[in-house]
């Protein structure tokens, strides 16, 4: 399987979980990473920068807050801005100011579902700690279209509502400890790239 996109969803307590996850993804993992994290509704611009700056310390990849129509680049990390939904179009990010979905904007369901519809089986969806069920339906949508779903072990998650809901909504999720997820993803993305390369040369 050749993977094209990694998308991560989390809410409460998500910041430290995200740092651990990002730190575990190796530098040669050449796919764009999208990060959907529930945030304060009224977060101001300066707050946004605080979040990206804080996370930037844990990865060499460039972290940026997504703007509308930002092209997806390999090796970059795109953070969903506060107060917008983030959707994935072919090769770029699209934002929407439509009403919150299950009280959330950005909504993990909206982002995951659009990623699934655009990249099908090329999507790896990761569900981390979360205090609402937003993200579970999106995970199901990715799985239905052949993508891979990884869920942080609910027993170890700071808030287990979302991981549990995601496990209930999917048939074949991988349950993992936070520290395992990054290395695992790096491996399967590399293998996908390698098999593609060998097909090209054969």
């Amino acid at each position: 399987m050749s993977y094209k996109l990694i998308i991560i969803g989390c809410s409460l307590g998500g910041l430290s979980a995200t740092k651990t996850l990002l730190a575990g993804i190796s530098d040669d993992c050449m796919v764009p990473i999208i990060l959907i994290q529930h945030r304060e509704q009224k977060a101001e611009v300066s707050m946004d920068n605080v979040l990206t700056n804080m996370m930037q310390r844990y990865t060499k990849r460039q972290i940026e807050e997504a703007e509308d129509k930002t092209p997806l680049r390999l090796n970059h990390i795109y953070l969903a801005p506060a107060d917008y939904h983030l959707l994935i179009e072919r090769e770029c990010v699209a934002l929407s100011a439509d009403e919150p979905v299950t009280y959330a904007r950005p909504s993990i369901d909206v982002a995951f579902d659009s990623a699934a519809r655009t990249y099908g089986s090329g999507v790896i969806g990761v569900i981390l700690t979360g205090a609402s069920r937003d993200g579970a339906d999106g995970a199901a949508s990715i799985e239905k279209r052949g993508g891979l779903i990884i869920v942080q072990d609910p027993l170890a998650a700071e808030s287990n509502t979302l991981p549990k809901a995601a496990l209930a909504a999917t048939k074949n999720p991988k349950i993992m400890q936070l520290e395992e997820i990054g290395p695992y993803i790096s491996n399967i993305v590399r293998e996908g790239g390698a098999s593609r390369a060998s097909r090209a040369t054969s």
Binding site: V45, E67, K69, L87, L95, R117
Partner: protein
Amino acid sequence: MDPDSTTTVEQKDEIEAIEIDLLLDGIYRRYGYDFRKYASASIRRRIWKFAEQEKLATISAVQEAVLHEPSMMDRFVLSLTVNVTTMFRDPAFFLALRTEVIPILKTYPMIRIWDAGCATGEEAYSMAIVLKEEGIYDRCRIYATDMNEDVLRKAKTGIFPLSHMKEFTDNYIQSGGKNSFSEYYTAKYDYAIINQELRQNIIFAQHNLVTDKSFNEFNLVLIRNVLIYFNEELRGKVLDLLHESMASFGILALGKRESLKFSRLESAYEELDSAMKLYKRCA
């Protein structure tokens, strides 16, 4: 036979994509509204939301209803285009407007402002308040346009639910407001009516960014959180239209997470305030 048992998810997605294309083509041919180049992921969500509201099971059913019943089409346009907003949305933007844009506008004898995609008028009235407090409202004309006649009618009345005033007031204070917000409206029953003096220099008019042409030249164009609903090609076309409508050194204001990056206008504008997405025409 249950179609679900034989149709795969991929096939369903493909059928849905065909249905959306047919629906938008049909609407264009029947009514002249052109949604064909809207950003596909969000228009898909809005079409389904409309289908659920109207209790229609498929997008083909939406097509049938919309083509045969003009009143259904009115509701469809409304649900596809209306963006819920507040007065002084993103207070920091209005603060930047006061400190960085108003001093430039003050140098002109007559000031023309275009609020494109004004919906129910919250932004136009917010602008009017800022201009009033800065002492240049009498020299300004605000052209507030939207493609949708229904929302324009509502905008023209200047009537908002009283329950919104708390949020409007909070935003107003954060945006650097100089007075008491309650001075700008009169409360009646459950509603608040914006003062007549704020309404007199606002011209609400129907204009479709996708199908209509440039109609004037402006010193300031506000188009916040509108271009996000268009695909890249259409965004480029609409930006060209705005550019044609821009006076020399005119100022363009985009939404907080929009930019001229990755557009062909990038080189014709300089950033006045990059965080607040204020651009000044330099070519």
